[in-house]
């Protein structure tokens, strides 16, 4: 006996259509106003600077992680990013994070942000940081960051705090750093 039941509605989500007068279709349900989805607070999770040879030059973690985890993440990411070709997209999905990276000469700058974060503005966070280093050291190169790693950290702290942009004005950031340098020179003279 052939089945006299009508063909099954094409989506498993909706009820079959015969005799369904009382049953609203799934489409109608979907059209109903969905409540606005609140977006969780998001920020940068960490920033890594490493060379083309895979040597870590600077690491800044904005989430609490064990040293073991940090090393594992660093190893994995350095490998992943170095394996990418030059023309590829600057963003990639990695675990449940988004990675935004850019290469400047021999150095890779690599940031991890959360799902809702803005990739392009993160790319410009990297660029602004490079500009700050450049301005401070005077055409910065990898060696400056190696030999003056503490300065690189201080500049970063003025610019980003807790993974959020604190001050975007180049003048203001450098003013803070130079003031500190001045303070130390002064205190050296005094002593």
């Amino acid at each position: 006996t052939p089945c006299n039941c009508p063909p099954r509605a094409a989506t498993t989500a909706s009820l079959p259509q015969h005799g369904d007068r009382g049953f609203p279709f799934a489409a109608a349900a979907a059209a109903g106003q969905a409540p606005p989805r609140p977006r969780p607070a998001a920020a940068m999770q960490f920033m890594l600077l490493f060379s083309r040879q895979g040597k870590l030059r600077l690491q800044k973690w904005y989430v609490p992680l064990s040293d073991k985890e940090k090393k594992k993440i660093t190893r994995e990411l350095v490998q992943t990013v170095l394996a990418r070709k030059p023309k590829m997209c600057s963003f990639l999905e990695w675990r449940d994070l988004k990675i935004v990276y850019k290469r400047y000469a021999s150095l890779y700058f690599c940031c991890a942000i959360e799902d809702q974060d803005n990739e392009l503005i993160t790319l410009e966070i990297i660029h602004r940081y490079v500009e700050l280093l450049d301005k401070y050291f005077g055409s910065v190169c990898e060696l400056d960051i190696i030999f003056n790693f503490e300065k690189a950290y201080f500049i970063l702290d003025e610019f980003l705090l807790g993974g959020e942009v604190q001050e975007t004005s180049k003048k203001n950031v450098l003013k803070a750093i130079e003031q500190a340098d001045l303070l130390s020179v002064l205190s050296n003279i005094k002593s």
Binding site: T1, N4, R8, G19, C89, L120
Partner: protein
């Protein structure tokens, strides 16, 4: 060594770094580091007090060594000493060391907190900022406990410097994220919102991050931020490119602040105040307009900053999902980006369009870009971009373009990266089923999937095609013909053999008329694959052979010959219980072949014909005469062939005779409430001879141990002739489960061991609690359960006379409430209930539509859990 060393350089540090860089090998580096560590240790321990500069230098060296990846377990105390230095750089290095090498030593923490406290109270903004940075970098609970109450005060104090306010805002944010309970809300929150009006852009930039985080938990307290954020945004968006001086970035005014403000607005629904809303819509339109203007600079920084604002604007438009005009404009803008020469923009446009596709206002607009997206799937060189394109195709798929999208995805699958194949397979399978209008297309699609990427086709996918073919007789002939052709290929994926074996076993008769696919041809085609297959597939094929014998008597001699010759015997690795093909088949009916359940199978009858009466299993002969310890599932035999049929009798009732043969009768009485049940089993000795070593046990195979707890009491080991013993079982349903526990009964009768395994009549529906509800509520819940995987449906022939009263009784016995006046068709039945388990409750809705003319039913189940929907549907379908 670089010539320039700003501030006060540390020569010793530079020399050390140079040494390390000159090391030729890892060993040399380690040697140099160990030497340095020994040196620093002796300096720290020495009698001579170190001056601040030396301390700073050594602490800095330790930091460098740590950052190279080596462990550092000393120097913390010296770093803490530096904190109280009145030289700025010494303090700074001390703080840096503490921030990087956080230590949980409580004595140290007390000292660190003391130093921070002093710096916060110093009224020297540079020192205050250092202390705040340290708290923000460490962000530990201890620091929260010490400072969370002070920082809000610093943040809103009228005399705090701007830079201190900025650091305080973000410091508080970090502490709030780590331990929200430590940050007291209070009078300061209102003043924080007003920081959005601050004259200093840096203060606004920091404050808006804090507000965005705080308002998530307390949206009402921060409501006023919406209008403030809108007016701030409006001022930025409408300002000329130079108005904001140093906050202008490559001709884009305050891009970071704009993005943050747009993000803050996404925490709230569209503004209710018409004026605010108007102003905001104007802003959004301005951003969209600016995207069309010629760029003010050729630098990528200019376009990145501008587009960062644009994408965040589009996110806000999607979040509101209420302005059709803006949604369509956003979509058109993204459409332009799809062909942009910047890979980054193409990637982001694909990603953003995925969310637009789910809005009813922009779904059609997204669809117009289908050709571009298909092209991206074919030509993008970066796999992550191709993946975005595949995601978008999936999101934009509907009935109108399903065939095109599915065929493009299939084509892509042939060359797709291994990493994403499984995902593509699943997407194709879902789309093919969801939008199948003609089922031969669906069958073709799934078979193509197996052909192209068989390894990535999961069980769910190929089970599903069997289910659909079984339930739709208009496609069965086509399916048989197609698998028959597919199996002709010399190298077939094993999943194809499984599907082919099953479909030919069930529907091979539909193509048997054609001499090219006559039964013997079908058999030899399948059997040619047999030796290349795994045990599970061989088992499935064996069950197909039995079906063949049933369907085509002319193949019986050949198949029996093959089986007797032992060529089909299982390899030595097979479980010992299956001594021959016959036993293996018993396993099969319990295993994969039983999955798309087709009701009672006629094959069982043939078993006895194929196999001589089974001898006592060697296991039982060797068994210890004393009552054995509870056997594990591997110790007991497979359930008797009728076990499923017996179980089915108890799905809708709780009492009755579970089993009876010449020796033994087993009766059941049970009651269930919530997630608990009690069952009485009555074992009656029908003979006049005593049973010895009588031992009934309950066994939980596989996962069931974590799903169902059954406590049994041991019964007397002897059962006199004509006597009856009773066993009480206490049952607790921990979580939803699919297979019933097994009841294994062993005893000796007249010296001969007897063993018997049954399925205990405990099925998930026993834990149903009926729920009455009005039609309106029913529809609302029905709608809420509208995901494809939440629904299970079966169309099947009536095995019993179709009597409404009997059906009603069965549905009530099944456990759900029957709801009257819900279905507009009075012939139909609608029910609702809740499955109670310890871990979770599963709400269930069901609908049964009888078709008296065709003698068929359609049964639909919707629950919040896929496996429960499917299982209930299978259980109930066998009752009518």
């Amino acid at each position: 060594m670089p010539a320039v060393s700003k501030g006060d350089g540390m020569r010793g540090l530079a020399v050390f770094i140079s040494d390390i860089r000159n090391c030729k090998s890892k060993e040399a580096e380690i040697k140099r580091i160990n030497k340095e560590l020994a040196n620093i240790r002796s300096k720290f321990k020495g009698d001579k007090a170190l001056d601040g500069y030396s301390k700073k230098k050594y602490v800095c060296k330790l930091l460098f060594i740590f950052l190279l990846g080596h462990d550092i377990d000393f120097g913390h105390m010296e770093a803490v000493n530096l904190l109280s230095s009145n030289k700025y750089t010494e303090k700074q290095i001390g703080y840096l060391f503490i921030s990087v090498l956080v230590n949980s030593n409580s004595e140290l923490i007390r000292l660190i907190n003391n130093a921070i406290k002093n710096d916060l109270a110093s009224r020297n903004p540079t020192f205050m900022c250092l202390a705040l940075h340290c708290i923000a970098n460490v962000g530990s609970r201890e620091m929260g406990e010490a400072f969370a109450a002070d920082i809000p005060r610093i943040l809103v104090a009228g005399d705090s410097m701007d830079s201190v306010k900025q650091s305080a805002a973000l410091c508080l944010l970090r502490l709030y994220k780590a331990s929200p309970d430590l940050v007291p809300m209070g009078e300061w929150t209102a003043r924080v919102v007003h920081l959005l009006n601050d004259q200093h852009m840096g203060v606004v930039t920091a404050a808006v991050s804090l507000i965005t985080c705080l308002c998530k938990k307390n949206p009402d307290d921060f409501k006023t931020c919406v209008s403030l954020a809108v007016s701030r945004l409006s001022r930025i968006v409408s300002s000329a490119s130079t108005d904001l001086q140093d906050y202008t970035y490559y001709f884009v005014p305050a891009p970071w602040l704009s993005v943050k403000l747009l993000r803050l607005l996404q925490c709230y629904p569209p503004p209710e105040d018409a004026a605010v809303k108007g102003r905001l819509v104007e802003c959004l339109e301005t951003v969209l307009n600016k995207a069309q203007e010629p760029p003010k600079s050729k630098k990528v920084q200019h376009s990145n900053a501008k587009n960062a604002i644009l994408f965040e604007t589009i996110s806000l438009i999607i979040h509101y999902d209420s302005e059709p005009n803006l949604l369509v404009r956003a979509c058109n803008q993204l459409g332009q980006f799809l062909q942009h020469r910047e890979t980054n923009l193409r990637y982001l446009a694909l990603e953003s369009m995925c969310t637009l596709a789910s809005s009813e206002f922009s779904h059609e607009a997204v669809k117009t870009h289908i050709d571009t997206v298909i092209n991206a799937l074919k030509t993008e060189r970066d796999v992550s971009v191709r993946q975005r394109a595949a995601d978008l195709l999936y999101a934009m798929c509907d009935r109108s373009n399903a065939k095109q999208i599915v065929s493009e995805m299939l084509r892509y699958l042939e060359t797709a990266d291994y990493a994403i194949r499984e995902e593509i397979v699943l997407k194709v399978a879902i789309l093919a089923e969801k939008y199948a209008v003609d089922y031969s297309w669906y069958v073709d699609t799934i078979l193509n999937l197996i052909r192209i990427a068989g390894d990535y086709v999961s069980e769910e996918v190929w089970y599903r095609v069997l289910q659909i073919v079984t339930n739709r007789d208009d496609v069965q002939g086509y399916a048989a013909k197609t698998v028959f052709e597919a199996l002709q290929a010399p190298a077939c994926h094993e999943n194809m053999v499984k599907v082919g074996g099953y479909i030919l076993g069930e529907f091979g008769n539909l193509i048997a008329g054609d001499p090219r696919s006559s039964p013997p041809v079908q058999f030899s085609l399948l059997h040619s694959k047999f030796h290349l297959c795994s045990v599970a597939t061989r088992a499935l094929l064996l069950s197909t052979y039995i079906k063949f014998i049933n369907l085509f008597p002319e193949t019986k001699a050949t198949i029996q010959g093959v089986l007797r010759a032992g060529s089909a015997a299982p390899p030595p690795a097979a479980p010992p219980a299956s001594a021959g093909a016959g036993n293996l088949l018993v396993d099969v009916f319990d295993g994969p072949a039983a999955q798309p359940s087709l009701g009672p199978t006629p094959e069982e009858a043939f078993l006895s014909e194929l196999e001589p009466p089974a001898p006592e299993s060697p296991m039982a002969l060797l068994a210890d005469p004393a009552p054995a310890a509870d056997p594990g599932p591997e110790d007991i035999g497979p359930p008797i062939p009728e076990a499923d049929e017996l179980l089915n009798k108890f799905v809708c009732k709780n009492n009755g005779v579970l089993f009876e043969n010449q020796l033994l009768q087993i009766g059941v009485k049970s009651e269930f409430r919530q997630n608990l049940g009690r069952m009485y089993l009555f074992y009656g000795n029908k003979t006049s001879v005593q049973f010895q070593n009588f031992s009934p046990t309950v066994v939980h195979p596989g996962d069931l141990q974590t799903q169902l707890a059954v406590q049994t009491k041991r019964v007397a080991a002897q059962v006199d002739g004509g006597a009856q013993v009773q066993q009480v079982l206490n049952i607790e349903c921990l979580r939803d489960f699919l297979t019933p526990p097994l009841l294994s009964v062993r005893f000796r009768y007249g010296g001969a061991p007897q063993a018997l395994t049954l399925k205990l009549p405990v099925t998930i529906n026993k834990f149903f609690q009926p729920t009455e509800m009005a039609a309106q509520d029913f529809f609302q819940r029905w709608k809420q359960l509208s995901l494809p995987q939440q629904e299970a449906q079966k169309i099947f022939k009536a095995n019993h006379p179709m009597d409404a009263e009997v059906t009603k009784a069965k549905l009530l016995g099944f456990g759900s409430a029957l709801l009257d006046n819900v279905d507009p068709n009075p012939e139909n039945f609608v029910g609702a209930g809740i499955i109670q388990t310890k871990a979770l409750q599963v709400g269930c809705l069901l609908r049964l539509e009888p078709n008296a003319q065709a003698q068929m039913y359609r049964l639909t189940l919707r629950t919040s859990k896929e496996s429960v929907s499917r299982h209930l549907c299978e259980l109930l379908a066998q009752q009518f």
